[in-house]
């Protein structure tokens, strides 16, 4: 019996050592693609979660992939296969870019895209009075004609610097949205100068705040302000 077990184990050992000798000899994804979305009005194009993406499709393949933009307008993917790709930025609150660019991706490829935002948020200020935060800002449109309707505007408040759609505290953010539903060309100068209030912030906490203006474009996407830090003093 012991002999038998020994033989079986020997057999198993031989089979195990001889199996699985095929090695995947294809190179791993070692190309990378990075860059910045630049606003045609100057500076980076600020984005948020679940909105702007770099769409890319390897030439000769049918399935596209996407690289989500970071909140500061940069993007990076270091796990791509080398080769020619068609690339285009999509999904954000900027005038649609239909022409894809062909780039040859290798290690460290960098490419910047310039986009024209629908709305630019200017003169963004925040004033804290007790636990009530008042946000004021002006909006402007680089190209007013033919722009999608402006749906609403709202603050985004979070406890980390990652703040935007899908990364905000609902009672401070979505709950303080203001409906607009107007075309930019129909707005008076007073309409374009906006004020939002965020009441009942918690004393002794630090918040990160920005504002967004949402449009009824293909993606119901928003243009964002820069992010500011607000320290609510202890009472």
């Amino acid at each position: 019996m012991k002999k038998l077990i020994g033989r079986i184990l020997m057999g198993v050992a031989i089979l195990a050592s001889s199996a699985c000798t095929k090695i995947d000899n294809y190179p791993g994804p070692n190309a990378s693609f990075q860059g910045t979305l630049i606003s045609s009005t100057g500076g980076n194009f600020p984005t948020s979660g679940g909105s702007t993406q770099i769409w890319l499709q390897q030439i000769g393949w049918t399935a596209p992939q996407t690289i989500p933009s970071k909140f500061d307008g940069t993007f990076e993917d270091t796990q791509l296969f080398s080769g020619g790709y068609k690339v285009v930025p999509t999904g954000g609150a900027f005038w649609p870019v239909y022409d894809t660019v062909t780039v040859n991706l290798t290690k460290g490829t960098t490419h910047n895209f310039t986009v024209t935002p629908y709305i630019v948020i200017k003169n963004f200020t925040a004033t804290l009075n007790g636990t009530t935060l008042t946000l004021t800002y002006d909006i402007d449109a680089p190209i007013a004609a033919g722009m999608p309707t402006i749906k609403d505007t709202q603050p985004y408040v979070n406890t980390t610097a990652l703040v935007g759609t899908g990364a905000s505290i609902q009672v401070f953010s979505d709950a303080n949205a203001v409906t607009i539903n107007k075309d930019f060309v129909d707005m008076t100068p007073a309409d374009k100068s906006m004020t939002l209030t965020v009441p009942n912030l918690i004393p002794g906490r630090t918040f990160f705040v920005r504002v967004g203006v949402r449009l009824s474009d293909s993606y119901n996407s928003s243009n964002f302000s820069n992010i500011i830090q607000v320290d609510v003093p202890k009472q």
Partner: protein, 614 residues
């Protein structure tokens, strides 16, 4: 010996010459059905048709619109023995109900691609004319009509998801060159026109009556009214609210607005063909609640146009009874999707608040429900309703005493409200149970999150001990006359024929026990549709074809009806509060069309460009 040897050789030669081989190897194989076996008899054809009918894209009790969020995988049109999770339904993603979906998670579909089934229909259409001798010319024509109807049904399932798809009318030869097999997409408009033409053939060729579960000419007309209304709305509303992209520029998605009127007219004309053939179920007009409940359960209803049947013996039974009501009323399992107060408010705001803003006091839970429209009572189980001898005792908690307005109370943070809540039915407050056996409860989603339960289609006649998984056999009514009247009314109002629309809607409202309208408009017609067809897997597609999904489901949160017991008054009040999970639902605009399945694009790159936004 020599003689024997010679003899043996001679015998061998003779037998060798006589018994020649390889003459009759060309025998019909016994384990493969040839086309003669299938198409020479009605019985053979019936068995062939059974598969085609079984796979029809009917969004029934078992339909799972996506495999997201833990729903059945692969998702889609199920016909197995254990497709029990009926709460993963479209209604629970659109605000008719709230359910196990964590948001609007069905928008990209499940990769529906029924070209295998379409191939079966194409084979049938090619084969049938060769069998006139056995089936007679009339028999062949009737079956051809049925085949055209079935093919239209499959293409309708494709067109409403993807827009333009390749129209394949002849079974492809697998040996043909790749270039001819990789067919380009047709334009969306061409696909809808094809569907309309196929259904016209179905109407022309099929007989006026059929076995339950099979099509006849009126089923084709009914489906045509549904399909043409969809196409008309794509033309009218899709040309205003759309996502731009290459597929739109090429016409693979989108229809010119100018085509809308033609499609509305086609929908109206098709619906009108059913005039006098079917009628609304009205067997017990004296009890309009019971009548509306029975409409979904009684066989031989004159309202049923096309049904899908289920059987325990054939292992196809569904689980609606066991998964729409909580365990309290059944023998097993659980419920997970619940009607919203937002749906109920289509009938008009519930009388739960007085003019001064204070909550209306009720002596018992059932008092609220008793004032409501019979159809509403028959669609949703409200607090105080009964089933199988037990009461829906929904109670969110107890107020030792209540003062002030409902709005002020609901606006308070939960920790400064004076109510008593509990996480178990065994918790008592001064001897009174705090929460109901049927919820609402925040611990999990197996009790209602909204204070309401689905009633439509629930078979109240079954004994509790028999209500188990995979034991429900009430048929799914895929096409019923009320929908045709609604299709007709909507098309009529879009065409400016309001008097026809008013008459159609009042027929439905009369049966429902609602006050009749004296005038009509598009909003009234659409609302009537949402009320009459609630939970029937129509609303999601209505939102899509009206192109209002991205407006209705824009960071949407839905409400529930929370019943409380006010201890010092011995009364019940109802507060409109966010459903207990307070989930958010947002419909991305590109989901008006689903993405073409990636696997199919890999096989056929000619399907590109994909729909806009993907």
């Amino acid at each position: 010996m020599k003689i024997i040897k010679k003899l043996i050789i001679a015998i061998c030669l003779v037998t060798g010459a006589l018994i020649t081989s390889c003459q009759k190897l060309d025998v019909a194989p016994k384990n493969i059905f040839t086309s003669d076996v299938i198409f020479n008899s009605q019985a053979g054809i019936q068995s062939f048709l059974a598969t085609i009918y079984q796979d029809l894209p009917i969004e029934d009790f078992k339909y799972v619109p996506s495999s997201n969020d833990g729903a059945e995988s692969p998702a889609g049109f199920e016909h197995g023995g254990n497709d029990w999770m009926s709460f993963y339904n479209e209604a629970a993603c659109t605000g008719e109900e709230v359910g196990p979906w964590s948001g609007m998670d069905i928008g990209t579909g499940f990769g529906f691609w029924p070209y295998g089934d379409i191939r079966n229909v194409n084979i049938m259409i090619a084969e049938l004319p060769k069998h006139v001798a056995d089936l007679t010319q009339t028999g062949v024509d009737q079956l051809l009509g049925e085949a055209h109807f079935l093919r239209a049904y499959y293409y309708f399932g494709l067109a409403k998801r993807y827009g333009g798809v390749p129209i394949i009318t002849v079974a492809q030869d697998p040996g043909a060159p790749l270039a001819t097999l990789q067919v380009h997409r047709d334009k969306e408009q061409a696909v809808w026109d094809f569907i309309g033409a196929e259904l016209d053939l179905g109407y022309k060729m099929m007989p006026a009556t059929s076995d339950a579960g099979r099509a006849n000419k009126y089923v084709a007309a009914a489906l045509k009214s549904r399909a043409m209304l969809y196409a008309a709305c794509v033309a009218k509303y899709g040309s205003v609210n759309f996502v731009d992209g290459e597929a739109r520029a090429s016409g693979a998605v989108g229809i010119p607005a100018s085509a809308a009127t033609g499609y509305f007219q086609a929908a109206y004309d098709a619906a009108k063909l059913l005039d006098g053939v079917y009628s609304l179920y009205n067997a017990t007009p004296g009890d309009k609640v019971q009548n509306y409940v029975d409409l979904f359960l009684k066989p031989n209803s004159p309202e049923n146009i096309f049904i899908k049947q289920y059987s325990i013996a054939n292992n196809t039974a569904h689980s609606w009874d066991d998964t729409m009501s909580p365990r309290y009323f059944t023998a097993n399992a659980l419920s997970r999707s619940y009607p919203t107060l937002d749906l109920v408010n289509l009938w008009g705001t519930l009388p739960i608040t007085n003019a001064d803003g204070t909550p209306t006091r009720y002596d018992n839970r059932a008092q609220l429900m008793q004032q409501l429209e019979p159809r509403l009572q028959a669609t949703i189980y409200f607090p105080g309703a009964t089933l199988r001898g037990l009461t829906f005792d929904m109670q969110r908690g107890i107020y030792p005493s209540f003062s002030g307005t409902a709005a002020a109370e609901v606006a308070k943070p939960s920790n400064s409200r004076s109510y008593i809540l509990a996480s178990s039915t065994s918790t008592l407050y001064q001897g009174v149970q705090v929460i109901g056996f049927t919820g609402p409860w925040t611990g999990d989603d197996e009790l209602t999150r909204t204070g309401l339960y689905v009633r439509k289609y629930v078979d109240y006649t079954r004994l509790q001990a028999t209500v188990n998984l995979n034991t429900s056999v009430q048929p799914w009514i895929d096409l019923r006359y009320a929908e045709i009247l609604l299709n007709r009314a909507e098309a009529a109002v879009e065409l400016g024929n309001t008097s026809d629309a008013l008459a159609d809607i009042n027929l439905i409202r009369d049966r429902a026990g609602a006050a009749l309208y004296s005038s009509i408009d598009l909003t009234k017609v659409r609302n009537e549709r949402c009320m009459e067809l609630a939970f029937e897997n129509q609303y999601y597609w209505d939102l899509k074809r009206w192109r209002t999904a991205d407006v209705v489901l824009d960071k949407a949160h839905f409400k529930g009806l929370m019943p409380y017991y006010v201890f010092d008054e011995n009364k019940y009040i109802f507060l409109a509060e966010p459903e207990l999970f307070n989930r958010e639902y947002t419909f991305p605009k590109q989901n008006y069309y689903e993405p073409l399945p990636g696997g199919e694009i890999a096989k056929n790159p000619n399907l590109l460009p994909n729909n806009p936004g993907y």
